[in-house]
Symmetry: C3
Subunit: 283 residues, 3 copies
């Protein structure tokens, strides 16, 4: 465990920094797009394990070092099979839904500080955090997957439905469209959107404050909120299974191919929402 | 099935238009008040059946052709017994709660475009849709029933509680008062309220976009949102039973009679909320 | 029962006034801080019993007669043991969680009119009410307990999670910070915040309106909203048990002692949030 924990701090794409023994930061740093590739999954697993097993940490903030991107979806230029065929984690779930479930259930408080795009897996890890604060000007959230023929695999059906209600969750997921920082706050996708200039200070003050409280009290309190608010794990598992099934369908493969031809997952790509406007071809 | 499907398009009060094989519109057109009468129930049933059984349709938008009214509550000038004694639908439920349950559960995406009054049954059908978009200036939503001595019969206790939380749901239902487009958005009664001039274009673009996506992916995604967000059918059934029981009580009959004397269900009636101010007589 | 009912109206700290047989007001009047002390618990119990057993009352508004305070947390200068060792109520629960559960479940509609601070137990009683309306300028809500090393004991983990979603509930409870009237509305902590000058008139009109409706219809409607929205009682019970456990821990005793040295529970104390900034000592 100890080894894994420190290994995590050495990886280039995800950095773990201990601001204090009680307050950690996890920073996604994979320029130019902060795109999630299969090789990052073991790193996330190591960090979640470190969070679960450390005796002092109380708060972890997840943020990004890459301008314009919090963390975006799966790298479709990598082999998708690499991701789909990862060995399962300790609970038997595939490691992607598993790290998300474990992040939500750990007694440590997790906060996503969202600046830039948080799409697909980036949105899913933000949703698995306990709280989300976004830049009003610079955050863009989305679950774009349905536009690419994919069922989202990291639980947004379960989590967004409970955060923002059925109607808005269906809109966000089925429209597969960009959600601005302002709309994200109105819909409850994030706790609040703050002026970009205030965001870092606000999140740091909140994390520092919580880190000053009693760890046992935080743990007992969060556990009771979990009972009232977390989806059953089976819903996350079912979502992942539906995602894997959708990946294998020829219609989905064709959509992803077309997206890649249009520049999906390449540096020039800035606006996924536009990329998945299928209107011309598919009506 | 085929016959029923096309029969629906011939009825005068509810029109089904296929904008494309994937994208349909259902338009309430029963001037001057777009009031829901018992004779419209079989038409709604036929349309829901068509939606459920068509192999290509992905999105259905519900709107109105009548100025000032999306769809309003039951016509109390018609025989209430006609409605209460309809034979049950295939699941054994009374056909009104049953069409609402089926609309929510079908794999087709339903969107209510709300301009004018959506009260009582009009609000209930909007709530059974997957999403709701309202005119900021011209939409008025309400569940006025409690003011008339009736428990609402189409599930708003189950649905509003999950959409907007207990406190706001109790306010909307127990106050029996009008909710403006602006407040409807703040409370989560609708996804968003848009400037009236933008509403049609917005909903059409959203419906067109979703209609361009993969039907199987939409279906699998919506099914998982259903699991996370739909009330159990028994809650809708219990609400209907409580509604029928309330209809039979003398106190309710007296309230409805008084309302009708004041102009309820007649063309001049514009503001239900005012009509059910009982203060003068009942305190 | 009759005796208990009238006894409640004679107590100095909580006043029950019948505006009409159908519409009652309960006013907290315990200057200077409207702080909840153990001696008030039997008074609350009597009032809840009166509400449960009266045959005509339909609506009860809870408000305050003390400038600046709706009702605040437990008086830590009193003996905490007095509160922890109260004999259980009729259901076997400790009387504090029990009166809250009973208030939520009674068929009478309860409305909190919040002006000034509603913290700790004041927030919990407001959350047990069916609706909450706050002064935009003068209301401050909080669950400060975690900052004092305490798990909140009156159910906010269960109730806030369902009212505002997991992310915002965790922020409110774990930050232990003040929530303004404006933010309280955006988060769904209250139904609405109104300009202070409009608040009394608005709540009075709403209460009068509901009081004019049919009692049986209100009862049947609220019962169905309860099914859709109330937490299971066991969640409230577990929260109370976690609170009692946290009271006994030395770390918590030390935090409370430090708070009291800083002026906690004394008249000069205006801003709890500031009092529980532990940063200096605990990092």
């Amino acid at each position: 465990m100890k080894d894994q924990k420190y290994a995590a701090t050495k990886t280039p794409e995800i950095r773990l920094v201990r601001r204090s023994p009680e307050y950690w930061r996890v920073t996604f740093d994979h320029p130019p797009l902060n795109i999630f590739g299969p090789e990052m999954l073991p790193q996330v697993n190591e960090i979640i394990t470190a969070i679960e097993t450390d005796e002092r940490v109380k708060v972890v903030v997840f943020d990004s070092a890459v301008e314009g991107f919090f963390l975006i979806h799966l790298d479709f230029l990598a082999k998708l099979d690499d991701l789909a065929h990862f060995p399962p984690g300790p609970t038997g779930l595939h490691p992607w839904p598993e790290v998300l479930v474990r992040l939500s259930r750990t007694s440590v408080v997790s906060i996503a500080l969202i600046r830039g795009r948080a799409t697909g897996m980036g949105s899913e890890i933000a949703l698995a955090c306990d709280m989300r604060f976004a830049s009003r000007e610079k955050a863009i959230l989305s679950q774009f997957e349905v536009g690419a023929g994919l069922v989202p695999g990291g639980g947004p059906m379960a989590r967004l439905s409970r955060l923002m209600g059925r109607g808005r969750a269906l809109e966000v997921i089925l429209s597969a469209d960009d959600v601005s920082g302002d709309l994200a706050e109105r819909y409850g996708y994030v706790n609040r959107s703050l002026p970009d200039a205030d965001l870092d200070r606000f999140v740091d003050a909140l994390a520092t404050r919580i880190a000053s409280f009693d760890k046992q009290t935080i743990m007992d309190t969060k556990r009771l909120v979990n009972i009232a608010s977390l989806p059953p794990d089976i819903e996350i598992e079912s979502g992942w299974n539906a995602c894997v099934a959708s990946m294998g369908r020829p219609a989905t493969q064709q959509r992803i191919k077309t997206l890649i031809e249009r520049g999906f997952c390449k540096p020039a790509m800035q606006k996924i929402a536009w990329e998945i406007s299928w209107d011309a071809e598919h009506r």
